[in-house]
């Protein structure tokens, strides 16, 4: 039981349950399964993005360009859809993933080949990708009446009573869970974050792994680009402006250490869910949405203060089970 309570995710899940409980005392319908499903659906895009950011942060890097990538890719698929409504949605999603992958690979190559710190690279590409969106679209918007009904309807279609958007989020969560806990790449990502020097001596190609990690976050940005545009049915240069910091905030609340090496898929998902619940609950309990920023800011600070003790310990045992056996 004591070992169980050591997991950050348990505490975060408890905090979320308490939060939902508190909200439902003022507004009972909030805890209704139908509404909670809605909250999950509303938070899906943030969750997906937070997972992509998580793998980058775990390797002691950061990707500030995710929201700009989302904006650019979203514009590409929206314009494609407006010009050629015949392109099927699965193909559009593949295009979105590919465009995102290219943008992520640019970040990754600069970090890998030129050894420029990721914060500098992605600070640069943050402005470049958003500017490129303007050049691509000529400053014009693509709005709902130019998009095909399939483009807008795809993620809203219900499957087993749950919208496709939520299913995509569940699929991405499952994929990341497998990646981080069952693959060599996942181990390498953690290892690099815990101790880059030791990773080199154990035969991990740190530069190449970082490149792969940026490719992953790029693809996630691209996927989120399609999802965002088809959900809010408007593509413009302003889409998700400043959202990169919300994504990082979700990671931080989820207990992912910005110094690398510490964090889990469950943490990132719960961190995003926490922010999602706050933004969904505020209008319901009659608090002005202007409070949202201050509340999430306080939550971030509180989360780091609570996490601080865990982060002070140097390194982290990755192979807990093996150690217990020997």
């Amino acid at each position: 039981m004591k070992a169980f309570l050591k997991y950050r995710e348990i505490w975060l899940a408890a905090a979320i349950i308490v939060l939902i409980g508190l909200i439902s005392t003022r507004f009972p319908a909030f805890a209704d399964p139908g509404n909670l499903r809605q909250v999950f659906n509303d938070t899906s895009i943030l969750m997906i993005l937070a997972l992509g950011q998580m793998v980058v942060i775990l390797t002691r890097s950061i990707d500030l360009s995710m929201a700009s990538n989302l904006c650019f890719t979203g514009m590409v698929v929206a314009m494609l859809n407006a010009a050629h409504p015949a392109i099927p949605i699965p193909l559009l999603i593949i295009i979105a993933l590919a465009v995102g992958l290219v943008l992520g690979a640019i970040n990754g190559l600069l970090v890998w080949r030129l050894n420029i710190p990721s914060i500098v690279v992605t600070l640069g590409t943050l402005t470049i990708y958003r500017g490129a969106t303007f050049v691509l679209s000529g400053g014009a918007w693509v709005n709902a009446d130019k998009m095909s009904p399939e483009f807008i309807g795809f993620q809203r279609a219900a499957f087993l009573g749950i919208p496709v958007l939520s299913w995509i989020a569940i699929l991405v969560i499952a994929l990341f869970f497998v990646l981080m806990t069952r693959t060599a790449l996942g181990r390498s990502i953690y290892a690099i974050g815990v101790n880059p020097t030791a990773s080199v001596y154990t035969g991990i190609d740190v530069g190449r792994t970082k490149f792969i990690v940026f490719c992953i976050s790029g693809m996630i940005g691209g996927l989120a680009g399609y999802l965002w545009i088809s959900r809010y049915v408007i593509a413009s240069v302003e889409v998700a402006n400043g959202y990169e910091l919300n994504i990082i905030a979700a990671c931080v609340i989820g207990g992912i250490s910005i110094a690398g090496g510490i964090g889990s898929v469950g943490g990132a998902v719960l961190g995003a869910l926490f922010l999602g619940i706050i933004s969904n609950a505020l209008p319901v309990i009659n608090i002005s949405p202007f409070w949202q920023m201050a509340i999430s800011g306080s939550a971030i600070i509180l989360a780091v203060v609570l996490n601080a003790r865990g982060e002070r310990q140097q390194g982290r045992i990755i192979l807990r089970k093996v150690e217990a056996v020997t």
């Binding site: 002691r60 950061i62 500030l64 600069l110 970090v111 890998w112 030129l114 050894n115 420029i116 710190p117 914060i119 500098v120 690279v121 600070l123 640069g124 590409t125 943050l126 402005t127 470049i128 958003r130 500017g131 490129a132 303007f134 050049v135 400053g139 690099i192 880059p196 020097t197 080199v200 740190v206 530069g207 970082k210 240069v237 400043g242 910091l245 990082i248 905030a249 931080v252 250490s257 910005i258 110094a259 002005s288 202007f290 409070w291 949202q292 920023m293 201050a294 509340i295 999430s296 800011g297 306080s298 971030i300 600070i301 780091v304 203060v305 601080a308 002070r312």
Partner: protein, 331 residues
Amino acid sequence: MTDVPAPRHIPDRLDKPLSSAIFSWEALLVVVAVAIFAINSFASPYFLDPYSLSDLTFNFTEKGLIAFAMALLIISGEIDLSVAAIIALASTMMGMAVQAGAGTPVLVLIGIVVGLGCGAFNGLLVTRLGLPSIVVTIGTMSLFRGIAFIILGDQAYKGYPESFAFFGQGYVWWVVSFELVLFLIAAVVYWFLLHRTSFGRRVFAIGNNPIAAQFSGVRVGRIKFILFCLTGLMSGIASVLITSRLGSTRPSIAQGYELEVITMVVLGGVSILGGAGSIVGVVLAAFIMGLVTFGLGLLNVPGIVMSIFIGLLLIIVIALPIVWRRLRGGR
């Protein structure tokens, strides 16, 4: 071994041969600045007009003032993402004071004190609790701007006194604006502080190796706290200038400035990993960014496209020396 930089040498005037100055980062920036200046003056006939050149300075003075303090902070290995939010909060407080009938001196004082207070809050969280500054300031960024949003909602504060307009719109001598004078004074003060005092050497020492600095008697926590106070203070001063220039306060004021300030600092040759950098570089980077945005503005290039150039400039200027070294077969 990408992530483990070799221990850097603490810069010293005495061990630098003259030739190294010619190939220094600052020299590269001067070349870039002159090139952009030349391109600008060919591209637009309106560029080489004293009044238009003086307008140019408003593009970088406010951000540059913060960039000086940010440079010191980044050299010490920390970062402050909340500077723009501090501007918003300080401006909101000034707006509230105006509604209560405060005069210009009180407004300036409020701006500076609120900025300093916010900086001290960041500093306390980082140094007392030992938290990573990038996360703390992402938090306080939302918190400070959030408070501004709670107070202001979707309205704006106006009605600033006429004497208050001097700070952001006034000229000291012919076409030399008050902001530019302040920028130059701050440049000299920060240059002296960083490059000619023991405080500055300690800042470098902390950035190079905080543990070694601690053991050699540098009070790491206290110096970092002072540095956070300085960025807060400079943000407060910038808040006075911006509020005065715009003549109104909105909660979305100075949105996105934090990234521009950091871009300026990094472009100025300050290592984002800490331990290296110079104020001259930051001054040059401020000029370059001002020249780029102003020149493109004269050519009617939209702001969002200018940001492409700033982003490209950042990556290319940082990548250039690395590519150059590779081509020469160095390490």
